[in-house]
Each structure stands twice: as structure tokens, then as C-alpha cells.
Amino acid sequence: MMRRVLSLLSVCCGLFSVSCILSSVCYSQDTTRGVRIGLTYAPGTRPGVLIVPVSGHNGDSVRVMLGRDLDFGDRLTVIPTDSGDAPSGPLNYPVFAALGAAAIAQASVTPAGSLHVVVHDVGGARVLGVIDFPLPSPALGGEWRFTVHRGSDEIERLVTGSRGVAATRAMYEHAGSLWIVDSDGAQAHPVGGTEGGLSPTWHPSGRYVAYQQLANSGHHTIVVKDLTGGSVARSFSSGHTLNMSPAFSPDGNTLAFASGADGTDIYSVAPFGGGSPTRLSSGQGTLNTNPTFSPDGRQIAFTSGRLGHPEVYIMDADGTNPDLLTTTAFGDQLYRSDPDWSPDNRRVAFQSQVGGVFQIMAISLRDRSVQAFTSEGRNTEPSWAPDGRHLLFTSTRSGTAQLWVLDTESNRTRQLTHGGARMGAWSPRF
């Protein structure tokens, strides 16, 4: 008997050690997204990165932008240093190690007008990678800045294994029009011809956006706009006066939206093909809005009032098998809405009332556990960054409605807009 127990115990131990190995593999998978060419670092810490002074034309601007981007990325700690001359010759790694740097970004703007970055691994005393991006003119213009953001994302990828989201944009509503702003809050500008625009959403290509357009008559139509051409590509209506909250499928070939005369249902239409919109949901007179696709395009989460108050549901993308997602008891606050499915398929962000005020939360698709992210002010309309880690949302915490960015791992927040904004939609990577 005793021997058997012992043998079983040893099996258990074996099993446990295997699961330990396995979990460590899982861990590195999860944190570095499979790329092990970066530095190894402990969970929860942000390795230090030092951006040495940047040589070349507008080097100081490049350095400031890179530093800000890497800081906003929430995966690295940017080690502050004095400005000065760009170092020449080989880098003295131990000196940088003493400053707490795990990595060094050595950037320059070449005479030919390229952004050239050498990324060093301080611990390994080696070069991790070299980045070379031609900088479009004019210097400091929108496209020039965007290229520097690309450089930031590449540095982040080399050091942490995960590409950053600095080279992305957000679209939002402000003063009756739609606006676009870069991920660092710069370059905010209105998009022409979008008067009456609400609820913008990006096509996965980043080339098109869809939104609903409210006319003075109260009629809402869905508009798909080509951002490169600027002219209206197409507009859609199910035949009812209300057509709202559009969302593209991840393959970009389906556009879902809500529409209806007495109660609303989810409809879908081929945004660039033929055919008229078809009804997906069967709400029987209840309100069904805010569709958002799963990353594989096979399911749709949406807001529905079918139980008498808004909750978030999931259904198959063909409208079958509707199922309540937000089953958790939320006390007497019977209001959950505006879901956004994370691009990594791990969770669905939504807004839920707490004490009568909306807050941003996310529900895990694995075990239905709910995580609350905000508590200050009214926080609504979450939109995931393409990294599945950062969330864009509307908050009144500064006194007026503005867009804010939240890092769901550290709960760090920053204000993105300052001139008033709502209905933010984070773009895909371009």
C-alpha cells in the first residue's frame, strides 16, 4: 500500500514538474508572443531602455517622439538622460547597465533622410537589430511623424518581442464631425465630409472607415468612406430610418450594423459587393445594437435589451445561438453595453453602470471573470488597440468628455485628446 502511494506521489511530482515546465513555456509564449529573440525579463517589470541622443536633422524631435512612444507602450521604462551629443564609436555596455538600461536605442537621421536605429542588448553586449525607414518629407509632417512611430514599434518589438501600437490612429466624434488623431495625441484633424458622423469604425485594412451619418431629418445611414480618396464610397440602409453602430468583420468582407423601426436588429451587408442588407438577429421588437466581431469572424457580440435591460450577448455570425455573455451578477445596476471584442480573442470589453455611472470592464471569454478598469468619472465606449492590451475610451474625468488610453495590464492611463471627443475607434496597424 505504502509503496503504491509513494509511486503515485512520484507520478504526481513528475506531473507537477512537467506542468511547471509547461507553464514556463506558456509564460514565455504569452509575454513575448513567441518571439524569443528579445531580452528575458521578469513578469510585471518594464525593462529599461535608454535612447541616446539622436544625430542628424531633427534628431531631438525623433528622440522625444521615440521616448514618448516607448513610454506610452507600457512595456519599457525609458531611462531619462541628459541631451547631448550622439555617442560615436562602440557603446560601453557596462556603463549603460549601471544606468539600469537593458537595451539601448541608438537612432540617427541619415543624410539621405532615413530613420536609422540600432537596438542594443546591454546584458548580452550585442546588437539586437537594425531599423531603417526612409522618412517622407516634409520633415515633422504627418507622414514623417508616422514613420518615426513605426520606428518606435519596431524598437519595442526588438526588445520585448511585441510590436508596439504607436503607428496607429484613432477616429472619433467631435463637434458634429469625425476626426482622426495619432496614437500620441498629435495631428488631430477633422475628416472632410463627415458632418453628422457618429460611431466610426475602421476597416481592417485601415484604408476605409464606416460610420453612421445623422441627417437633420433624423435619418441615419451607414457610410463607408475611403480615407485615401476622401470621397464617399458607399452608403447603406436596411430601409428603416435608423441605421447605426457599424462594424467590419476581421476579413473586411462583411459590415454589420443595427437597424429597425420599432426595436432594432443586427443586419449584415457586403460593403464592397452587391446585395442588400440581411437581418441577422431576431430581437422581436427589442433593442439590439453595437455588433463587434470575434477575431475569427465566426461570432458577434452585441448589446441587447431582450431581458428588459441592456446586456452583452454573443451569437454566431449568422444570427443563430444567441447567448447572454454578461451573466455575472452586477448588483442592481442593470446596464451593460458597447462591447468590443479583443483582437487576441481573450476578452470582450464593455461599459457597465456602477452606482449609476458607466465604467469600463472586460469579461474573459475563457472563464467569464470580469475585470473593472476605471472608477473616476464617466467612462464609456471602449475600443481595443490592435495589441489587445490597450483600450481607448471616452472619459469625463478631466471635466469634459475626452479620449483616454488605458493599459489593461498596469492600469496606467493617459489623456489622448484635449479638445473634446467621444466614440473613439482605435485603428488597426497600418
Partner: protein, 275 residues
């Protein structure tokens, strides 16, 4: 461009692989708990259970073997990924194949764990019966099986389904149907097998199992109606409007109160006109 595509594939691939082993890890943890409980029970139990116990130990060994192979594969996979990132020497196709293997291994491991779990459930139940001295022989003779088995098996499968481990859920539901084909929830199990194919994007298998649901459980409207609807959409996608029309019409005629019956008229209208 290739690099970009590669990354697009890479991220979901890693997430899926990582997801699969998360599931496995939790299950191992649960299993460890089960083993501990069983060990305690066994210290008290009679030698009658020794044989079963030994068998369980063998199975645990098998589980740990498959975990080991999964682990080894994952390690290889990870190093391949980094090489892939480095020199793009591995083609996307190979990459996909490897991912499938990871899923397959994870699925097998899960299946084994499910089996062991089911056996533990059974043994626990028997231990409980044995604890009641007079009733024990009669109960064993009459019931001849575990009284709590089907519900627990179904729940375990459904839990996998809910958290999106469709391959695992599928094999667990299949195991449930092998043992309890006449259970009340058999129709639901079969329907969820079809859905698990559907949600994994394996359309042909999904359609054939939906067909089976319609055939075997025509009176269970909650499963037959959506199965028919899925079949209709599949027929439409396969450019077989006549077949699609027939299925949509059957939903309206046979299951007028179903959700799908309220969608079918619109779907019928959207079908291309008869030639």
C-alpha cells in the same frame, strides 16, 4: 509583405497555442486535486479498489507522457517561431501544420485527462456507495454504473465548449455520446459537436453533424431548427439555392415558433430567384 503576413499568422497562432496549454495546465491542477482526494480516500478504502487505483496511476502516467511530448513539441515550436522570425525559412504552410500538431497533442492530452477524470468520478461514486455498508451490494448490482457520471461528463465537455476549446469539447462530447447515447442531453451534445466544428471553421464536418441532429432529433426544435438553418446557409454558400430554399421552408413549416423561423422568411427572400 511576406513578413507582414507572417506576423498576422503568428500572433493568432501563438495565442492559440498558448491558450491550449493554459487549458491543460488548469486541468492538470484539477487533476492533482482529484488525485489527492482519491489518495486520502484510498488510505481508508479496502483493497478492492487497488486494481482500479493502479489503472488510474497508469493513466496518469500516460497523461504525463503526452504532456511531456506536448511540452517538447511546444519548445520546438517556439524555437521554430524564433527562427521563422529570423530568416523566414519556414513557410507558412509548415507553420500551420505545426500548429495543427500542437492542437492535436493538446487535444489528446485533454482527452486523456477527461478519461481519467471520468474514472475518478466513477470511483468516487463507488467509494461513496461502499461507505453505506448494507446498500452497497444492491446499489452496485442494480445501477451498474455511476449515478453522477453523465451530468458531470456533460458539464466538463460544456465547460470546454464555453471557454472556446472546441476540439477538446468535441472529443469530450463524443465520449459522452459513446457512453450515454440515450441521455436527455444527447441531442444537445450532438448539436454542440456540430457547433464545435462550425466554430473551428471545419464546415463540411459541421454540416454532416447538423444533418445528423436533424435526422436523429427532429422533435427537439431548439437543436433541429438551428441545425436546419445552418444547413440552409451552407447550401446557399455552396451555390445550391434549391436545397437552401427547402431547408428554410422546412424550418418555417416544422418549427414555426423557433428563432430561426423568424429569420427564415428574410433569408428566403434573399435567395437568388428560381431559374
Amino acid at each position: 509583405m511576406i513578413r507582414r503576413c507572417a506576423r498576422l499568422v503568428l500572433v493568432p497562432a501563438i495565442v492559440m497555442a498558448a491558450g491550449a496549454c493554459f487549458a491543460t495546465r488548469n486541468d492538470v491542477r484539477t487533476l492533482q486535486g482529484d488525485i489527492a482526494v482519491l489518495r486520502a480516500e484510498n488510505l481508508r478504502a479496502d483493497s478492492v479498489h487497488r486494481a482500479q487505483f493502479q489503472q488510474a496511476a497508469v493513466q496518469v502516467g500516460a497523461v504525463s507522457d503526452s504532456l511531456r511530448s506536448l511540452n517538447a513539441f511546444l519548445a520546438r515550436f517556439v524555437s521554430d517561431v524564433s527562427r521563422f522570425q529570423g530568416d523566414l525559412s519556414v513557410t507558412l504552410h509548415q507553420f500551420g501544420q505545426q500548429l495543427l500538431t500542437v492542437q492535436e497533442l493538446a487535444g489528446q492530452t485533454q482527452k486523456r485527462i477527461q478519461d481519467v477524470k471520468a474514472q475518478f468520478e466513477r470511483q468516487e461514486a463507488e467509494l461513496a456507495t461502499a461507505a453505506q455498508p448494507s446498500a452497497a451490494p444492491a446499489a452496485q448490482g442494480a445501477a451498474g454504473g455511476p449515478p453522477t457520471g453523465p451530468a458531470q461528463l456533460f458539464e466538463a465537455a460544456d465547460a470546454q465548449f464555453r471557454k472556446g476549446s472546441y476540439a477538446v469539447a468535441r472529443s469530450a462530447f463524443e465520449g459522452f455520446l459513446e457512453q450515454f447515447s440515450n441521455n436527455d442531453r444527447a441531442a444537445e451534445a450532438l448539436y454542440k459537436i456540430a457547433r464545435s466544428y462550425d466554430l473551428d471553421g471545419i464546415a463540411i464536418s459541421a454540416d454532416s453533424v447538423y444533418a445528423l441532429v436533424v435526422e436523429k432529433y427532429p422533435t427537439k426544435a431548439e437543436f433541429a431548427a438551428p441545425s436546419l438553418y445552418k444547413r440552409a446557409l451552407a447550401a446557399k454558400a455552396a451555390n445550391q439555392p434549391a436545397k437552401a430554399r427547402e431547408y428554410f421552408q422546412k424550418i418555417i413549416d416544422s418549427y414555426p415558433r423557433s428563432l430561426e423561423a423568424s429569420l427564415a422568411p428574410d433569408a428566403l427572400k434573399a435567395l437568388p430567384k428560381r431559374p
